[in-house]
């Protein structure tokens, strides 16, 4: 019957909700009955509820009206109605920040927290702590200490949690309660234990020793609360990570023992902690994976979700460890919770075999529209990984991706798909045409400028080299007509590339370009005019230099050089060769051009590296007038890792000089080294000009010393040299504890490993997006060719990698990847030689017994060609 009424109410609208149309002013008006005597608990309760409801809804209360209501509310403390009193506490907490003078209730709350009514005490403490500031805290400190160790669990818990909230505000006061918290930690009540542990950790987390002690104590004595166990596991795994403790550490044993806890929560926390450990081997993972496997068949959705999500993480690093769970994961594919199903499928895609891919993709496409964007991105990432693993599956993937591209979705999702398609195109030449077609279709209706420009760039690069380039022209020109400025400009650049590459298309491209020259935007017009003029010259060299390959200098470097040039007016024209070069960015799309070859370092760091060196070196007076820094090498270790002194060297190449930067670290805490310098004995006609010693080397504080070397001018082909290095210094023994050194010391030396300068140090990597055009541009004036037999090399891959690392040049046209099952390969390398001469190398490799290599070198300078060939031989 009651049901029936409800239905009626719902049909008639939302009249059943007494809180639906509350007016703040009306409620505050009603609050006046708080002042009536005797107090009517029922009605007052109702009004307090309304006030809290309004506050929760985000209704704004002015300070005056809030204060007025608050003061009226304080009268209600006269009533002994339990619920009313509790609602007063809540109101105090909610109003603590909007009303003035909330501290007037302090005495009432202090009375309640120390009173006889246990029901009031906990909530009163929490309300009191909310309105207390640091100065007031001193006054109630005594009560807080008592409350923490109170035998009533709710009082103790409330006091502990409130203390935790106040740690942020007054750490020093709360720190004094550590003994009480310690006592509470051995309480029988599970929540008190958990809260005490949490507070103790927050108070001690900066003191690693104290945390270790605490962990030891509790792992021995054992805990009752599953929450507290979870907390302990987190503390333990954090400590393990910080101390880089091995898996033989007692902390790891503790975490592993938690896998056998009777609470699922603890078991899961332990498994997840093990999975997330940075250096975990497959054997250590096994027990964690097997408990997760059990969870996969749990009736609880949350547990299944937790398990499969964690397994998915494992599959990223150790796919083989998860293979055992494949059967359980298969069962989850049809789970009614789509999040679980998605995670199961993406995990299987990482662990499964090639044959199952089709089936899984079919399954996932049946519900991909139902899942949230976050999970769609997970799916796309899984596909991307899969394409690298099974390149032959690209047609299935491409189909699937293009369907996803048509669906609705946010920017992140679309970007993930576009990135994925682009990477497939780059990996698989066969998929190029279908991929480009899908991308063309996508930009027809694409709201994201970033993606549109990215795709247009891609089209400009790959489109002209497809069998039928003309079909892309329409898609590109549509953009010129329909889109925003940035996209139009990108489209113009793409068009120019078609015109430059395909002679038969050139007339039509010129017509289109003519129309772009009337664009309303400056940038678009400028680009169109520029390309128009270049294209009309019909010269391959111009096309290569200005349309295909662009500038190879670093943009910040160019900016700095130009600024310098304007500051010192001179008759000479600005010389592009003085600008530091940008090395090949890892992918060409990156907007920030990395100034150094740093493919191994994190991206964020890359742009700053060479600039940092440049500035550091420029600050040293001895190194003035060397010109711009041409190249800085990766650090070379000159000592073993675990020796008294650790030294590594960075080679900085300039126009006619080299600077060797020795980063030295003293690992002996009883020594202070002074006047540290590295003596160098060259094997060739290199001349050491200067040593810049490091004035002092304190324990574990790295410092650098430098050597300046002049390169031999009369013999430009002498590019390689070996230096024998000795570190010389003054030792002063010192007290390991205070670091106070003795008055006198003695000279000593330390022999370092030899340092090699090779041809790679003279060449900066440069990426030529269109190698063929660049090859033609340089021409065959200084071309030289020679054939070598590489007897020691067994595979083409090995040969390619050796050549790249030896010459230190940038592989172009993705020629660093050798196709499988081929016995010949052509490698294209590009670089700039010291002094600003472009150099290109084409190496034809053939595999017979060993590898035979025919090297063709072109450069703008004859010496450079000789240097390269001489050093290869």
């Amino acid at each position: 019957m009651i049901k029936k009424f409800d239905k009626k109410d719902e049909e008639s609208g939302s009249g059943s909700n007494p809180f639906q149309h509350l007016e703040k002013s009306a409620v505050l008006q009603e609050a006046r009955i708080f002042n009536e005597t005797p107090i009517n608990p029922r009605r007052c309760l109702h009004i307090l509820t309304k006030i809290i409801y309004l506050l929760n809804q985000g209704e704004h209360f002015g300070t005056t009206e809030a204060t007025e209501a608050f003061f009226a509310m304080t009268r209600l403390f006269q009533s002994n109605d339990q619920t009313l009193r509790r609602m007063c506490y809540l109101t105090i907490k909610e109003m603590a920040n909007i009303s003035e003078d909330v501290i007037i209730v302090t005495s009432s709350l202090t009375k309640d927290m120390t009173g006889k009514e246990d029901v009031y005490r906990g909530p009163a403490i929490r309300a009191l702590c909310r309105i207390t500031d640091t100065t007031m805290l001193q006054a109630i400190e005594r009560y807080m200490k008592q409350a923490i160790v109170d035998k009533v669990p709710s009082v103790s818990s409330s006091a502990l949690v409130s203390s935790l909230h106040m740690v942020k505000m007054s750490f020093d006061v709360v720190k004094r309660w550590v003994n009480e918290a310690q006592e509470a930690a051995s309480s029988d009540n599970i929540m008190v234990q958990y809260h005490a542990l949490g507070l103790l950790y927050h108070l001690r987390k900066n003191d690693r020793l104290a945390v270790t002690k605490m962990l030891n104590k509790f792992t021995k004595s054992g805990l009752k609360s599953p929450f507290a166990y979870c907390m302990m596991i987190r503390i333990a795994s954090k400590l393990l990570e910080e101390t880089e403790g091995g898996h033989d550490s007692p902390l790891f044993d503790f975490i592993e023992s938690c896998l056998r806890n009777k609470h699922e929560m603890v078991v899961y926390e332990a498994a997840s902690a093990i999975v997330h450990m940075p250096k975990c081997t497959a054997r250590e993972l096994a027990p964690a994976v097997s408990v997760l496997q059990l969870f996969c068949s749990s009736p609880k959705a949350a547990l299944r979700y937790a398990a499969v999500r964690t397994l998915n993480k494992v599959a990223m690093k150790h796919p083989s460890a998860v293979t055992a769970c494949n059967l359980d994961l298969e069962n989850l594919i049809t789970d009614s919770n789509r999040s679980i199903a998605t995670l199961a499928i993406t995990t299987l895609l990482k662990t499964g075999s090639e044959s199952s891919v089709d089936r899984l993709m079919k399954q996932i496409s049946s519900f991909v529209s139902e899942i949230s964007d976050e999970f769609k991105v997970v799916v796309v990432q899984a596909i991307s990984a899969l394409c690298q693993k099974y390149p032959r599956k690209h047609s299935v993937m491409m189909n699937f991706l293009s369907n996803m591209l048509r669906d609705d979705g946010g920017f992140e999702y679309k970007r993930a798909i576009v990135d994925c398609i682009i990477s497939i195109i780059e990996e698989n030449p066969e998929s190029k045409e279908t991929g480009l077609a899908h991308l063309c279709e996508f930009i027809e209706d694409c709201e994201h400028t970033v993606l549109a420009t990215k795709i247009l760039h891609m089209l400009g690069k790959e489109g002209p080299r497809t069998p039928t380039p003309s079909k892309y022209i329409r898609f590109i020109f549509n953009r010129v007509v329909l889109e925003s400025e940035a996209v139009r400009a990108a489209a113009v650049s793409a068009l120019a590339k078609f015109g430059a590459q395909n002679d038969d298309l050139l007339p039509s491209v010129l017509v289109l370009m003519q129309r772009c020259m009337m664009d309303s935007d400056d940038e678009v017009r400028d680009r169109a005019t520029f390309y128009m003029n270049v294209l009309q010259q019909k010269q391959k060299a111009l096309n290569a230099a200005y349309i295909f390959n662009g500038l190879s200098v670093s943009v910040p470097g160019l900016e700095k050089s130009l600024h310098q040039y304007t500051l010192e007016p001179s008759e000479k024209p600005f010389d592009m060769k003085t600008v530091p070069l940008a090395t090949a960015p890892i992918t060409e799309q990156k907007t920030e051009i990395a100034p150094m070859a740093t493919s191994k370092l994190p991206e964020k760091l890359a742009p700053a590296r060479q600039d940092i060196y440049q500035e550091q070196l420029a600050a040293i007076p001895e190194f003035k007038g060397l010109g711009p820094l041409f190249k800085s090498s990766e650090p070379v270790q000159l000592t073993e890792a675990e020796t008294e002194y650790v030294v590594r060297c960075i080679k900085h190449t300039f126009g006619n000089h080299m600077i060797f930067q020795f980063d030295c670290t003293n690992t002996l805490n009883d020594q202070l080294l002074q006047r540290v310098q590295v003596q160098m004995e060259p094997s060739e006609s290199y001349e050491v000009l200067h040593y810049v010693p490091a004035p002092s080397l304190h324990y574990s504080q790295p410092n650098s010393c430098y050597s300046l070397v002049r390169l031999p001018e009369d013999d430009p082909t002498a590019v390689s040299c070996t230096f024998s290095c000795t570190m010389k210094y003054l030792v002063r023994d010192c007290d390991p504890n205070t670091g106070e050194p003795d008055d006198d010391g003695y000279d000593d030396e330390y022999v370092l490993e030899d340092l090699e300068v090779t041809v790679a140090d003279h060449i900066q990597k440069v990426l030529k997006p269109n190698f063929g055009a660049a090859w033609e541009e340089i021409g065959d004036e200084f071309e030289k060719e020679e054939t070598f037999a590489l007897a020691t090399v067994r595979t083409l891959d090995e040969a390619v990698n050796n050549i790249i690392s030896f010459l230190g040049m940038q592989p172009c046209e993705r020629s660093d990847k050798v196709a499988e099952n081929k016995n010949s390969h052509v490698l294209f390398l590009a670089g700039v030689f010291r002094g600003g001469h472009d150099v290109l190398v084409r190496a034809r490799l053939a595999l017979a017994d060993g590898v035979t290599m025919q090297v063709t070198v072109r450069s703008t300078d004859e010496n450079v060609v000789d240097v390269i060939l001489a050093s290869v031989g």
């Binding site: 059943s16 409801y53 958990y194 949350a302």
Partner: protein, 207 residues
């Protein structure tokens, strides 16, 4: 002279911060939504929000709307939205939500959700629906206050929560207004009964 910092020190290993900073602050938000039949209109009944994550009402509302749209169709217990893990449970026309960070132990969040739901259910004598909940709003406020304090799990045992809150749900609404409402409803029902009786007679005659 020590200013020449060594650039290699910047090469910190940027592992994704998978490990959670150990902390008691587990819960990022708790809220109960209703479903007015009209699916776009819901009313937030009681909430706790981590003020750092959702500083303003607008963000909270957007989040709720998004969560509701993604969860009200299927009772799936757990979801992952906007980088947050969300566990939820529905009962008749109500949706209970507990939100935690992406790395949070899902089972801990479930423990909170179960405790919240069980406590409310016991307090309302198993009538977990919008109407009864609204009539006992003060009780619900107190229950949430006992379970979560500033994002820290205060209690996870529904029995303890009920004892601490010590709240008696209203049996018979006594205010004049509700009595009048009651009577009109009764009347409406009788007229309904009469109506259907008439219909039945009419049909039997027509046959």
């Amino acid at each position: 002279m020590t200013a020449q910092s060594c650039p290699r020190q910047h090469c910190a290993t940027t592992m994704d911060s998978a490990a959670l900073e150990p902390s008691l602050y587990t819960v990022k938000a708790v809220f109960i939504l209703d479903n007015d039949g009209n699916k776009t209109l819901q009313k937030n009944l009681k909430n706790y929000y981590d003020p750092e994550l959702y500083p303003s009402m607008k963000e909270q509302k957007n989040f709720e709307l998004n969560v509701f749209n993604k969860t009200h169709k299927a009772d799936n217990e757990i979801a992952f939205l906007e980088g947050m893990t969300i566990v939820y449970k529905s009962s008749i026309d109500l949706f209970f939500y507990v939100v935690g960070s992406a790395q949070e132990n899902e089972l801990m969040l479930m423990a909170v959700l179960n405790c919240l739901f069980e406590s409310v259910s016991q307090m309302l004598r198993k009538n977990v629906e919008k109407r009864t909940l609204l009539d006992n709003m003060d009780g619900v406020f107190l229950v949430v206050d006992e379970i979560i304090d500033g994002g820290v799990i205060l209690e996870s045992d529904p029995q303890q929560v009920i004892e601490k809150v010590n709240y008696r749900a209203d049996d018979s609404p006594l205010s004049e207004q509700s009595v009048a409402q009651h009577i009109t409803e009764k009347l409406a029902l009788t007229s309904n009964v009469l109506q259907s009786a008439k219909e039945q007679i009419k049909w039997s005659i027509l046959k």
